[in-house]
């Protein structure tokens, strides 16, 4: 029989359709081809991008926009939102609007065109996360922005338009609805139990040991109880922290280890699976929030979103997370 499951943070229901149950090999993933040709993100082509806002190089004396970078952050050449200007908030009757002000940046994760994030040395992966943190800290100073959304699309089906490994960042003048819902769900739980719901999720998952994918001393990867898609994973710090910007360099390395391992396990289950990887963190300048816990969500693109999902907000998932976690745990043993 199918099962309805409720996400404890958002209150969102999902359907685990056990009759449609699938094994990793049953999922169809379109073959990815490296297109080749000129790539504006490759080292040596820095003139094709706007000037960098951040870059890490072995030689700190090297000039800006020199091709010796390891990780490079540049403003989007054709941004969805623009950085200059005032918000110009206004009301039109019951409708609100404002100017499309924001920062839209691309984090180029490696100088090499065909490098994959999880195949890079962990020290390099930690630099990518350091770039996330350092950009968050910098953008927090701009009072026009309320939230910074950091995400990675991997694979064409997940929205990646270029195969060169990169993430994106969009600083927004408003809080995204998903974050508002998450903050509100977590706050409701906190008011009732006086505990962070994510800390409780981690405690329960460690105790039950059925949905853990992998862990180290500081981070844990779980298949959440009510996942939207097969092999959805959440990566959370074991110690309570609501903002990613407070993470120190030692923890960045530990996080890099676990993210690499989680993505490697996912790739071993379903090679080249497209996915979206999103950082959920506290709003800018909110200060530490006792009820909220930063985390990454990795959502593989394996199911389609059609009328039912759009209309109801329900997702239909053909693979229970307990089994997904087991596949992921065993994936590197085979």
């Amino acid at each position: 029989m199918p099962e309805l499951r409720k996400d404890p943070v958002l209150g969102r229901w999902i359907i685990i359709s056990k009759e449609r149950q699938k094994r990793p090999t049953d999922f169809f993933v379109e073959e990815t081809k490296v297109l080749g040709g000129f790539c504006p993100l490759c080292a040596g082509n820095e003139s094709s991008t706007p000037p960098e806002v951040l870059a890490y190089r072995s030689n700190s004396e090297a000039p800006a926009n020199d091709p010796s970078w390891k990780v490079r952050v540049v403003p989007n050449k054709y941004p969805a939102l623009i950085i200059e200007g005032e918000l110009g908030k206004e009301g039109d009757g019951l409708y609100d609007r404002m100017n499309g002000i924001g920062a839209h940046e691309v984090i180029i994760e490696s100088p090499g065109h065909e490098d994959l994030l999880w195949k890079l040395p962990v020290e390099h992966v930690s630099l990518v996360f350091r770039a996330f943190r350092d950009r968050l800290i910098d953008l927090e100073k701009d009072s026009r922005f309320r939230y910074v959304m950091i995400f990675k699309n991997y694979g064409k089906a997940a929205g990646a338009s270029l195969e060169h490994s990169h993430s994106q960042l969009i600083a927004l003048p408003v809080l995204p609805r998903m974050i508002v819902s998450e903050l509100s769900g977590a706050q409701s739980y906190y008011r009732y139990k006086d505990r962070c719901i994510f800390c409780d999720i981690i405690r329960q998952e460690i105790q039950q040991e059925v949905r853990i994918v992998c862990q180290n001393d500081q981070f844990i990867t779980i298949a959440p109880f009510a996942p939207r898609t097969p092999f959805e994973m959440w990566i959370l710090p074991k110690e309570h922290a609501s903002g990613f910007c407070s993470i120190d360099d030692r923890k960045l390395l530990s996080l890099a280890h676990l993210v690499s391992e989680s993505l490697r396990r996912l790739d071993h289950c379903i090679p080249n699976v497209p996915y979206n990887f999103v950082l959920h963190t506290q709003p800018l300048r909110s200060g530490e929030i006792e009820s909220f816990h930063w985390h990454f969500e990795i959502v593989p693109k394996l199911t389609s979103i059609a009328g039912f999902e759009w209309g109801s907000g329900f997702y239909i998932n053909p693979l229970p997370p307990e089994e997904a976690a087991q596949y992921l745990r065993e994936s590197l043993d085979n």
Binding site: G37, F38, C39, P40, S48, Y78, S161
Partner: protein, 116 residues
Amino acid sequence: MKKILLVDDDHGIQLLYQEEFTDEGYAVESAFNGDEALQMFTAESPDLVILDIQMPGLNGIEVLRQMKMINSAIPIILNSAYHEYKQDLGAWASDDYVVKSSDLTELKNAVRRFLD
């Protein structure tokens, strides 16, 4: 005389741009699809390319990648009826992106910026 390679599968656009850019003092060569454009790009060595995106066969972003591989010094202006392709990071290889309009002022200014 500076030479523009105009790549667009729409004959109406080809006629309009031919007339307008010839009047501006440029020589205009036409290609109607990506393969033809790549051949002409290599053979003709234009001074600038105006490149549509949505075309049958190779799309403009794919053509752009190939052209920049052949010669990255030749400026290429993407010229599409759609804003949406700006979200394609492949478009970054272009030197400018001008959305199609019946008013050619912006496109002409972009061309002048590279050629004059």
